[in-house]
């Protein structure tokens, strides 16, 4: 299994290289640069800044310099947050996004699997439709509508929870819920689909025929195989969610990684954008690996070659 993991990690290197190159040349191709503001710089000052950040070098050399830095674990200084390095910014933002995204995913997993299982057991009955309809509100209302609604109700009007910012657990409730709602819908749907299939399988019929109670059949026999597609969804979805959501971060004022993708691109903060892109790429690889390992645990037929 260790060999399998190692092989996968090594196999990911070309993937990452392609990713880095693509992102690097794309962002450099964007019109405008990090030092453009509506107050134009005298040409000498601009040239001086360009030189200080190696932006006057030919593109291939800049790429080389960037890769060189990367090998030494140096993501470079940020253009937008000039007092910080990209490494520092990611190190500060990731724990926040991780906590937020992790909690949201956990919530979504628990609720989504529960809803999906119930719906599957009552396939096409009223309960099925009601449960799925409720879950689907999460993907029918965009989160930039849902999040302000939650704030208006629970923070501004009822004053139960804070409207934003970092602090104690209370600050996390609304963003976690807003982040989890769409995920609940996806997970519920996946669970329902695969659970329906599993329930028709022979080994479940056998278990039922043996007179095992419904609850035991579901928990002991059906759940594990039914979760397989959910698990493979969870890998990339978790990687995406713990690298932050720009909408949620903007609306709740949470200092996560998500805004670095968008704001970094808009500010032409080349190094920061590259940093989060590389980070995201690595996370995807890691999470896909984890998914494969979990798969093996859930489904003994899978062999690691």
């Amino acid at each position: 299994m260790l060999r399998f993991a190692l092989k996968r990690v090594l196999g990911a290197i070309p993937t990452l290289l392609v990713l880095i190159a693509l992102a690097f040349f794309l962002i450099k191709a964007a019109p405008g640069g990090p030092f453009d503001t509506d107050r134009r710089l005298p040409p000498e000052i601009e040239a001086n800044l360009q030189a200080a950040y190696n932006l006057d070098e030919p593109l291939y050399r800049q790429f080389g310099l960037y890769l060189g830095g990367l090998l030494k674990g140096d993501f470079g200084p940020s253009f937008q947050y000039r007092d910080y390095t990209v490494t520092e910014l990611i190190a500060a933002g990731f724990p926040v996004s991780l906590r937020l995204g992790g909690l949201a995913m956990l919530l979504a997993f628990v609720v989504g699997v529960a809803v999906g299982t119930v719906a599957a057991l009552k396939q096409n009955a009223f309960t099925d439709h009601a449960a799925m309809a409720a879950a689907m509100i999460g993907i029918s209302v965009p989160n930039f509508v849902m999040a302000p609604l939650l704030v208006l109700v629970f923070a501004v009007t009822l004053k139960w929870l804070p409207a934003g910012g970092l602090g104690d657990w209370r600050n996390f409730v609304l963003p976690v819920v807003a982040l989890a709602l769409p995920q609940i819908a996806y997970i519920a749907r996946l669970t329902r689909g695969s659970m329906i299939e599993v329930l028709r399988a022979d080994f479940i019929r056998t278990a039922r025929a043996q007179g095992l109670p419904q609850r035991a059949v579901i928990i002991r026999h059906a759940l594990k195989p039914a979760l397989l597609p959910v698990i493979s969804y969870l890998g990339p979805a978790t990687a995406a969610i713990i690298t932050g959501s720009v909408v949620i971060e903007q609306i709740f004022g949470v200092p996560g990684l998500g805004r670095f993708f968008v704001q970094g691109a808009l500010n032409r903060d080349y190094t920061l954008v590259m940093g989060v892109v590389v980070f995201y790429g690595v996370l995807i690889v890691v999470f896909n690996l984890i998914v494969d390992l979990v798969y093996g645990w859930l489904d003994p037929r899978v062999q690691y070659q």
Binding site: G32, F35, E44, I45, Q80, V156, G165, G253
Partner: protein, 552 residues
């Protein structure tokens, strides 16, 4: 009184005593332009917890005063550092780190006397040498300042910034521990105002040398302002605590101030309403009606030193050589409707370029006094004269950058042009940096959104923008007479003559209509009723040391 008063030098400004008049008892030394309602005659009672939370609009790019630019950084730096000159709550200039200064008769040599009790936050005295160090660092190309060009009035500053001279050639000299001399290349009436800008702040030389670029981090930063940096979490908050070593700390009331970088204005308003903010920067246009209805008493709107305008590309058709067409478009905009119904937060309709600044008479054209119906008639006449009609309408490209507010104004104006003249407008919304590039290149014909916030409270910051060699001149307006008037103005030591020259220049420029002024900016704040000490001023500069929290 400083000893160095000679007959060549004339005392222009002696401390604050004269300005204080209405104040609060006899000021002992120079400055005490203070909030004094503290437990004073007004009988207000202060809250036990003196914590102020402000929205700052965005994350500052840096807190290095010499590299900083933009409003978010300046707001915080005003609390962390103190320039030679400071500002009273109403915006008047008052002594800061310098307690007095003298200006030579020809207006080119400034001699500052630093206050005796000036201290860095680590207890070291603030010396003239620290300021000399600061000025030199500001213009040193190695510092990578983006704003050093505003120091160009100082002798040799431009050459140093451009790398032609070493920084020690700068016309700033510490004559002794408490005396700093600054030599200028010409009379610069707005120079004192510049000294409130962060590029002129002193930095603590030892900590800059010890920590390098990281000297601005919490724990490293040594300042001479009323507050010290306690914590900085990027995109979350910046927390400052009062500086016990500040010379006027006894008058400081707020113990802790938090700056939040909330950019999304709707989110900002919700957090204000949830009592998580005491003070906001700017407001969403769209919520202004709601605010007026529910919390009108917390809304503070006042004139701001800025013009919102459209640049017409004079280098390409349809505007090249077509002043009448340009005038027609300027006339056809109903600015009353626009500022009342579209922006709706007290913006002032603008028919001329320079906002209301000190010592300058605004230059609205004659048609500013007409009714909109009269303007429309004239606009239609000029439109026809320019060769356009209902059968042959003008087709315009209209460039603006991604923003809800700019979009609304652009749509409204495009529809006014359509209704009055029949102009077909093609809107083009570009993301900020692409927009800047397009506008700068002047390759796109038509109209581009623009705005200018003055660097200092003097008309020159506006007039110079349309000089033919100004990088900011996005219309491509080039007029020798205009340039000559500007040159004459900057060499003129007499303030009234200087103003007259700039006023003549503006009239000349408006006649050609290379730009269409839309409105003068206003500053907009929501302030909780328990926050005291706020006073509006045209620069919208506010110092936390003047604020206090009432019991609530």
């Amino acid at each position: 009184m400083p000893a160095r008063v000679t007959n060549r030098l004339r005392l222009v400004f002696v401390a604050a005593a004269a300005m204080l008049s209405g104040g609060c008892g006899a000021p002992d030394s120079g400055q005490t332009m203070r909030n004094t309602p503290v437990g004073g005659a007004s009988g207000t009672e202060l809250a036990a917890e003196q914590i102020l939370t402000k929205n700052n609009g965005a994350e500052p790019q840096t807190l290095d005063p010499h590299r900083a630019e933009g409003v978010p950084a300046s707001n915080i730096l005003r609390d962390l550092f103190e320039g030679l000159v400071s500002e009273a709550p109403d915006g008047r200039l008052i002594p800061g780190a310098a307690e007095a200064w003298q200006i030579s008769d020809d207006g080119t040599v400034y001699t500052f006397t630093l206050r005796v009790d000036g201290r860095w936050s680590n207890g070291d005295p603030v010396t003239a040498a620290d300021f000399e160090y600061g000025f030199r660092r500001s213009v040193d190309p190695a510092t990578l300042s983006q704003y050093s060009s505003i120091l160009f009035p100082i002798v040799n500053a431009e050459q140093i910034v451009k790398g032609e001279l070493p920084p020690d050639q700068l016309g700033v000299t510490a004559l002794d521990d408490r005396t700093l001399e600054i030599r200028l290349i010409g009379p610069t009436p707005y120079f004192l105002g510049l000294l409130t800008h962060s590029t002129t702040y002193a930095v603590h030389p030892l900590s800059v040398e010890e920590f390098g670029a990281r000297f601005v981090r919490a724990g490293h930063l040594v300042g001479n302002g009323a507050y010290i940096l306690d914590e900085w979490v990027v995109q979350s908050h910046i927390r400052l605590l009062r500086n016990q070593n500040y010379w006027d700390d006894e008058h400081t009331v707020i113990d802790e101030v938090n700056y939040l970088p909330i950019e999304n204005q709707d989110a900002m308003l919700r957090r204000y309403r949830a009592d998580e903010l005491d003070f906001t920067q700017d407001l969403p246009f769209k919520q202004i009606a709601w605010i007026r209805e529910h919390i009108a008493d917390q809304l503070y709107i006042s004139p701001y030193l800025g013009s919102y305008y459209y640049s017409l590309n004079l280098t390409l058709p349809p505007f090249a050589g077509m002043p009448k067409l340009r005038r027609a478009l300027a006339l056809a905009i109903d600015r009353e409707v626009l500022t009342e119904k579209i922006t709706g937060s007290g913006e002032i309709p603008a028919y001329s370029w320079t906002p209301r600044v000190t010592g300058y008479t605004q230059q609205p054209p004659a048609w500013a006094g007409w009714t909109q119906a009269e303007r429309n008639t004239e606009a239609q006449r000029l439109y026809k004269v320019s060769g356009y009609s209902a059968d042959n309408p003008l087709t315009l490209q209209f460039l603006y950058n991604t923003s809800e507010n700019h979009k609304r104004i652009a749509l409204a104006i495009a529809s006014m042009w359509k209704q009055v003249l029949g102009v077909e407008t093609k809107l083009l919304n570009q993301e900020w940096k692409v927009f800047l590039e397009t506008r700068k290149q002047k390759t796109m014909p038509g109209v581009a959104r623009n705005g200018w916030i003055g660097d200092y409270n003097d008309a020159y910051t506006f007039t110079q923008l349309l000089a033919s060699d100004n990088e900011q001149n996005d219309s491509g307006f080039a007029n020798d007479e205009y340039d000559a008037l500007l040159d004459a103005a900057s060499a003129e030591p007499d303030m009234q003559k200087r103003a007259a020259l700039m006023e003549a220049a503006e009239r000349l420029m408006l006649e050609a209509q290379p730009i269409i002024p839309i409105y003068f900016y206003v500053s907009k704040h929501l302030i909780k009723p328990w926050v005291g000490g706020f006073e509006a001023n045209i620069m919208d500069h506010h110092y936390t040391k003047n604020f206090y929290i009432l019991k609530h």
